[in-house]
């Protein structure tokens, strides 16, 4: 492991996930001296063993996140711990946000607008797509906004995918290949996926685009250093409070260290980034850094997962494929009022035919918690051969009252814990209800003998450090540069003013590509 830098460097990055690794690669390649501080441990690829039990070490951990609302954001399940962050257990479903996702307030009078339009992000989606590799079919995916063709052909479709597709067809709806950042053939020296369904355990062969596969190696090759087990506890500011000057961190062996830098990038995932900024308050920034708007921590959203399950007469071998799925449907995506008659608002998509292992929170066994004893045994035997599934990703209305604050409770390092007060909007709940109703209908049309669903669960966490045009009501500008402190940047899905109804990681990368390009071009003015 590299020694922490003693002298001031150009940029210190907090967190080694999608955003942090992307920033690190671009800044280091531009000749900047970069250090990434990661709270969790190293994750050597040979430790990414195929087991739904061992895989749990990739999640949760760290300081607990308290929850006080009627809903939950599920930090333990959604966050990552260790080098690579949550990308190490992400399933690489990489659709783009749509044009209307960027203008929700303007078009519908609710939630918020993004400070950019789809056209601003499109070149970066295209660039990231080429760099990381996506399998898909841009023509068949008729709902996809404009952009380059996917660089790899679609992922294979199994019996599971085919029978669900028949259900959609019977209802007059179309499916397309799902855009997956998983190799359907070898790509840029990385091998093709084996489709053995172990995405949740991390991908040791590099077929799935995650931080360890793509950007961390690039960053290291360009001279950046990665420091696991180094938890940042405070962002430091100058005496006049006008600049950030570095970070203070605790090492695993209990040393309190400082890394000084011209630029600080906070990319510690949606909950921990605002927690760190709130906990770094100073007399000049009494409510936390980058919080003059009072909106730091606010507008937290999470996609309501809408999981549908069924038993089909055909043998579907659900243990194989990709966790993210094989096919996609975004039938109603572009009309956020498609289900307004039931009070619903927002967009959703279906990720179809996800790989299902027997156990695990997203496995077969928990889908029927009512079954136990011999009835469970019988179900497990049947479902291991005949189960089908798909998961709805439903939008969540952005509400100011859904927010992250600091708790009076502190962690072992003396940093106040994050407390999340989250209650999904009624319109978001109604959207989830509408998706579930449609999904069950599709599964009945597919010829299942039984179809059922799981309760609403939080999938992905967004918001809390939202970007905007005005310093009065947002934390950063469209580049993730905080309005209050010009050399403090934020990366990650926390920047999203609204959640959309698609998986966030591709957009996290596109934003990081745009932000890091801006930072390199404007380096001198940013560092003052």
């Amino acid at each position: 492991m590299s020694e922490l830098p003693n002298e001031k460097i150009d940029a210190v990055i907090v967190g080694s996930g999608a955003a942090g690794s992307h920033f690190a690669a671009r800044l280091a390649q531009a000749g900047k001296r970069v250090a990434i501080l990661e709270a969790g441990p190293a994750r050597p690829k040979d430790e990414l063993v195929s087991s739904m039990l061992w895989a749990r070490r990739l999640k949760g951990g760290g300081a607990p996140v308290l929850e006080t609302g009627k809903g939950t954001v599920g930090n333990g399940f959604n966050a990552g711990r260790g080098v690579g962050g949550s990308t190490m257990h992400h399933y690489a479903v990489w659709p783009r946000l749509h044009e209307n996702d960027f203008r929700v307030k303007s078009l519908y009078g609710r939630s918020r607008d993004w400070p950019i339009a789809y056209t601003d992000l499109q070149p970066y989606y295209d660039r990231v797509q080429e760099e990381c590799g996506i399998s898909g079919d841009h023509l068949a995916e008729t709902t996809r906004p404009p952009g380059s063709p996917y660089p790899m052909p679609p992922v294979p479709v199994s019996v599971q995918g085919r029978v669900v597709a028949q259900g959609f067809a019977a209802m007059g709806m179309k499916v397309s290949p799902i855009p997956l950042a998983v190799n359907s053939r070898s790509y840029k020296g990385r091998p093709s996926c084996l489709w053995d369904g172990w995405c949740d355990a991390g991908c040791p062969i590099g077929a799935l685009a995650n931080a360890q596969t793509i950007h961390l190696p690039q960053a290291e090759a360009a001279g950046a250093t990665i420091h696991p087990d180094t938890e940042v506890v405070r962002v430091l500011t100058s005496a006049d409070g006008k600049r950030v000057t570095g970070v203070e961190a605790m090492t695993k062996d209990g040393r309190r260290v400082r890394v000084m830098a011209d630029v600080v990038v906070v990319a510690a995932f949606t909950i921990q980034s605002p927690r760190l900024l709130l906990a770094s308050a100073t007399p000049q920034h009494p409510e936390g850094l980058a919080n003059s708007s009072g909106n730091l921590g606010r507008f937290v959203t999470t996609h309501g997962a809408a999981p549908i399950f069924g038993l089909h007469p055909k043998v579907t071998t659900p243990a194989f494929g990709a966790f993210g799925g094989q096919l996609l449907n975004q039938e109603h995506y572009d009309d956020k009022n498609a289900h307004a008659s039931s009070g619903a608002f927002g967009s959703y998509q279906w990720m179809i035919a996800n790989a299902l292992k027997p156990n695990g929170l997203l496995g077969i066994a928990p889908t029927r918690p009512d079954l136990r004893g011999p009835a469970l045994t019988k179900f497990m035997e049947q479902a291991s051969e005949h189960m089908i599934t798909m998961t709805g990703v439903t939008e969540d209305e952005a509400l100011a009252e859904n927010r992250i604050t600091l708790s009076p409770r502190k962690d072992a390092l003396g940093v106040p814990l994050a407390s999340v007060d989250y209650t999904p909007a009624k319109a978001s709940m109604a959207l989830w209800d509408a998706a579930i109703a449609e999904g069950l209908e599709v599964f009945r049309a597919a010829g299942t003998s039984e179809a059922w669903n799981a309760p609403r669960a939080p999938m992905h966490i967004m918001g809390g450090t939202v970007m905007g045009t005005s310093a009065a009501d947002s934390v950063t500008n469209s580049y993730g540069q905080t309005h209050d402190l010009p050399n403090l940047f934020v990366g990650g899905a926390g920047l999203f003013p609204t959640s959309g109804g698609v998986n966030p990681t591709f957009t996290v990368h596109a934003l990081a590509a745009r932000s890091s390009e801006y930072l390199v071009k404007n380096w001198d003015s940013v560092i003052g």
Binding site: R56, K59, A201, E381
Partner: protein, 195 residues
């Protein structure tokens, strides 16, 4: 994987307790004895649970997920609770429960045993099939009166998943279902236990 520190009770105490019948449970109407050999094979000595808690957990696991007792639900949960937090493999770690998790299990198992005592004047582990199932059904539906543990449907959900994990989450478990395990990299052990 660090070896969990052996707190109380010691292996000797467990074996002694077994000898006294404290780890004897009835399953499927038959008396089953948790033999020292089985306890050892499954990773004994226990680091966390008392003999009474162990008996309740093993019996509950087996009733929820047949085969899980032999698969080692008791040493599995006990081992994970004693492991360092970053090595914990229990599903509870991402179900919104504050660590440490031992009090969750301890109060839940205690509440179940208390419910069995209140209704049937018997420890849960010694109940016959019908009263045990009746108790589990009431627990799953949150209908047990004077329940003094974590919300009982949630406790049921967690314990059921633990039993499923140890029963179905290993190469043996996959094989029992006829599912090809197809590992990229085989785990060094099923769930971190010391072989």
């Amino acid at each position: 994987m660090p070896k969990p520190e052996s707190a109380k009770p010691t292996r000797r105490e467990i074996l002694k307790a077994g000898g006294l019948g404290l780890l004897t449970v009835t399953l499927g109407g038959q008396w089953v004895h948790l033999s020292p050999a089985e306890a050892q094979a499954a990773g004994a000595p226990l680091a966390v649970f008392t003999p009474e808690e162990a008996a309740t957990l093993a019996a509950l696991g087996e009733r929820l997920v047949p085969g899980s007792w032999k698969a080692g639900v008791l040493p599995f949960v006990d081992y994970q609770l004693a492991a360092a937090p970053e090595d914990c493999m229990l599903m509870i770690q991402y179900l919104g429960v504050d660590p440490p998790f031992t009090p969750f299990y301890r109060t839940g198992l205690g509440a179940l045993d208390a419910a069995a005592q209140a209704r049937h004047q018997s420890p849960f582990a010694k109940l016959e099939d019908a009263p045990a199932e009746e108790l589990i059904a009431a627990m799953a539906e949150g209908k047990l009166e004077n329940w003094a543990g974590p919300p009982s449907p949630f406790f049921y959900f967690v314990l059921r998943n633990d039993a499923c994990d140890v029963m179905y989450g290993t190469e043996k478990g996959f094989a029992a279902l006829g599912v090809h395990y197809a590992a990229h990299i085989r785990p060094p052990s099923e769930w971190g236990e010391i072989s």
